[in-house]
């Protein structure tokens, strides 16, 4: 609760400090409910970036506002409309995939440019010229994971446990299964679960164990993953574990025994242990304020605001321009510029809004993320 208080005070302080001519930048994300860890992380990352940029006192100043969408498309559109009433000029879309599909359609209709930190489904950008992503699109994560596992030779026999009523999980699972053969992986077990029966994984784990899977691929968010790890340990099954960016956050989950996650590998574009100056600065600042190590969502949020800063500066945009005037300028900048951020160097965007950057493999060691390479 204290954190929440500090956080809302910060928001208040920020909007107060950002008087005068600033770009109004708004985003929606789950700040409450089951997916809140993502929304809050992205929001905090964006806040730090906005404050850093404002403190520099350059031409581009930001007034940032996040609204809660509780990971629901209907609420996300409501939140988006609230931001529109506030006078949002450029948008950070939504943090999670399905809500972002809904708000992206609104962004497209209203001609308000959007750069989402972490909504990774392909439908977010599909057919919309003014919606861009900072994260990988889901299908790419599946292929990249299969490639990573195959090329590094971590395993031959692989089990997949996925959530069959979740867009994100399904998107990654589909491309992983599709491309597994190409990289010499054999999928020996494939089991699914859904909302409501996501507390007991003994069936799925027994299946994977009986069929001799050396590695279990977990394309899902961290809550079910934490249960899977605990139950596998209880039944004495210790394969290699491989997750994707949704697994990020497992270490900061309340009541989670970190030793369970020891040795879990995951593919994520951000590595909080990296020693480059930018990452160290961001991680220290984030830790100082919120008392935890930032995850990939925080880094995505941070990068989004810096990417906007770069694009707005290069486009010589001024805060008195309205959203419709800024939109074509932003499209032009984002399709031509190269951005260096926390989540990758030489980040580029294609015309359809998808991002190109290299994924980083990470492994959890002694309760912290360490680079695999």
């Amino acid at each position: 609760m204290k954190k929440v208080l500090v956080c809302s005070l910060l928001v208040l302080a920020m909007s107060a400090s950002a008087f005068g001519a600033a770009f109004k930048i708004g985003g929606t994300g789950p700040l409450t409910g089951g997916a809140a860890i993502y929304g809050i992380a992205a929001m905090r990352g964006a806040q730090i970036a906005a404050e850093e940029i404002n403190a520099l006192g350059g031409d581009v100043q930001f007034d940032l506002r996040y609204e809660d969408d509780t990971h629901d498309a209907e609420k996300a559109v409501n939140a988006y409309n609230a931001l529109k009433d506030w006078g949002m000029q450029v948008s950070l879309g939504s943090v999670t995939s399905k809500p972002c599909e809904a708000t992206a359609a609104e962004n497209f209709a209203d001609r308000i440019f959007a750069l989402t930190p972490s909504a990774s489904s392909a439908a977010v950008t599909e057919g919309k010229d003014n919606v861009f992503q900072m994260c990988f699109v889901d299908p790419n994560q599946g292929t990249a994971s299969a490639q990573y596992i195959g090329e590094k030779g971590y395993a031959k026999k692989v089990a997949v446990i996925w959530k069959n009523d979740d867009v994100y999980s399904k998107g990654v699972r589909d491309t992983f299964v599709e491309s597994a053969g190409k990289f010499g992986l054999e999928i020996v077990s494939e089991t699914a679960f859904a909302d409501g029966n996501d507390t007991d994984f003994s069936v799925q784990l027994t299946d994977a164990k009986d069929k001799g899977a050396e590695l279990v691929f977990l394309p899902m968010y961290y809550q079910p993953a934490s249960l899977i790890l605990a139950q596998a340990q209880a039944m004495g099954y210790a394969p290699k574990w491989f997750g994707i960016d949704g697994m990020d956050g497992i270490l900061t989950m309340e009541g989670f025994d970190k030793s369970l996650a020891e040795g879990v590998m995951l593919l994520t574009p951000f590595n909080a242990d990296a020693k480059d100056e930018k990452t160290v600065k961001f991680v220290t600042e984030y830790q100082k304020r919120f008392g935890e190590i930032p995850n990939q969502f925080a880094a995505d949020g941070y990068d989004c605001v810096y990417a906007y800063c770069q694009a707005l500066t290069q486009a010589k945009a001024t805060p008195d321009m309205d959203a419709e005037t800024l939109c074509p300028k932003m499209i032009e900048q984002f399709t031509t510029m190269t951005f260096n951020g926390l989540t990758g160097e030489n980040v580029k965007w294609s015309k359809n809004g998808e991002v190109t950057k290299d994924p980083k493999g990470m492994v959890i060691k002694n309760g912290a993320y360490v680079g695999l390479d």
Binding site: T32, D68, N78, A79, N81, N164, D165
Partner: protein, 352 residues
């Protein structure tokens, strides 16, 4: 003396119905004028269609809960059947009917038919039960519908429609399009739902329900609600009447679902879960069981309320819950009820 009272009662009933129509029409005109003169914020304008859909849901559930006296906890299930069948229809018709309102109308009719069918199929086992048992079984069916839709794939290509369950084995020909994609739901929906369409649907729903309630069948519904044994003893076919109310209610919920879904570019089955069913039940209970206008107002208030509480950020849902509790207590308080009824201009005439 008794005759006169009966006639008066009937007049009071008629007045209540016309008052409901009048308030709905007036609210529509006010919102429409405010919306076209840009007086309404984007936030409010964005909520007009979902509010209409929720209002229809409240009317539809009120028929089962308030008039028939059976508790249904799976109403969101019918809404999702309507949403998915309606949107799929609209997408299939995209090439044939370019005029959006006609496409929307057809989609809503198809949605009503599908949902009515689902209501019929579910009604066969469910309506043999009563009370708490019925409530629990409808809850289960709501979840079953959600699970089925989460595992349902529907595609279309030059060969026609293709279905599959669990995983996508539709094997569409090149140029084919997967419409319903299991857990990913439907993406890229054209937003053709409009506020006038929502208003028309609400008016139709009200007309159907009011006419049904004041018909011979409606009297039978209420007789069953008030005393099942007495109703049975005078030869009423309980199952038939229950089924009639249930199917009608499911059909209305289906078209509301189609309207709701076509207001967003994407829809997933998880949206129509147990929580949504309960939310609709809250509209009905807060508005007063059997009171259509009350349910409609509750639907509007409870949809707008969380948005108006946005300035309280994290404390929003806490406040929402407190306001809800206060409202529930207040609307059931005898003294407050008495005070409210004193404000009612028709009260004296009714007593006279």
């Amino acid at each position: 003396m008794t005759m006169r009272r009966l006639i008066n009662l009937k007049r009071a009933e008629a007045r209540r119905i016309y008052l409901t129509y009048a308030i709905v029409i007036a609210a529509y005109i006010i919102c429409q004028v405010m919306s076209s003169t840009k007086f309404l914020s984007s936030s409010m304008r964005g909520m007009l269609v979902p509010i209409c859909a929720y209002m229809v849901m409240a009317v539809s559930l009120n028929l089962v809960v308030g008039i028939l006296g059976e508790l249904s906890l799976g109403h969101a299930g019918f809404m999702s059947v309507g949403a998915f069948s309606g949107v799929a229809t609209a997408i299939l018709l995209q090439g044939f009917i370019p005029f959006a309102p006609v496409r929307l109308a057809i989609a809503m009719i198809v949605a009503a038919v599908f949902a009515a069918f689902a209501g019929f199929v579910i009604g066969i086992p469910v309506l043999r039960l009563k009370g708490d048992y019925l409530a629990i079984v409808t809850l289960a069916f709501g979840e079953i519908i959600k699970s089925i839709l989460n595992n349902f794939y529907l595609g279309v290509d030059s060969q026609g429609l293709h279905f599959s369950m669990l995983s996508d084995t539709t094997r569409l020909l090149p140029g084919g399009k997967l419409i319903i994609r299991g857990p990913m739901g439907i993406s890229g929906i054209q937003k053709i739902a409009t506020f006038p369409a929502g208003f028309i649907l609400l008016m139709i729903a009200l007309m159907i329900v009011f006419n049904l309630v004041n018909s011979r069948s409606g009297r039978a519904f209420m007789a069953i609600r008030d005393d099942r044994i007495a109703a049975e003893s005078i030869g009423l076919d309980i199952t038939k009447y229950k089924m009639m109310a249930f199917v009608m209610s499911a059909a209305l919920a289906g078209s509301a679902g189609a309207l709701f879904a076509m207001n967003y570019s994407t829809i997933v089955a998880n949206k129509f879960d147990f929580n949504t069913s309960i939310l609709i039940l809250v509209f009905v209970v807060l508005g007063g069981q059997g009171n259509m206008l009350g349910g409609i107002i509750a639907a509007a208030v409870l949809t707008i309320l969380p948005e108006k509480l946005r300035s309280f950020s994290e404390y929003r849902m806490l406040l929402y819950a407190i306001v809800l509790i206060v409202m529930m207590l207040a609307t059931n308080n005898a003294e407050i009820k008495e005070f409210l009824s004193r404000l009612n201009p028709f009260r004296h005439k009714e007593e006279a």
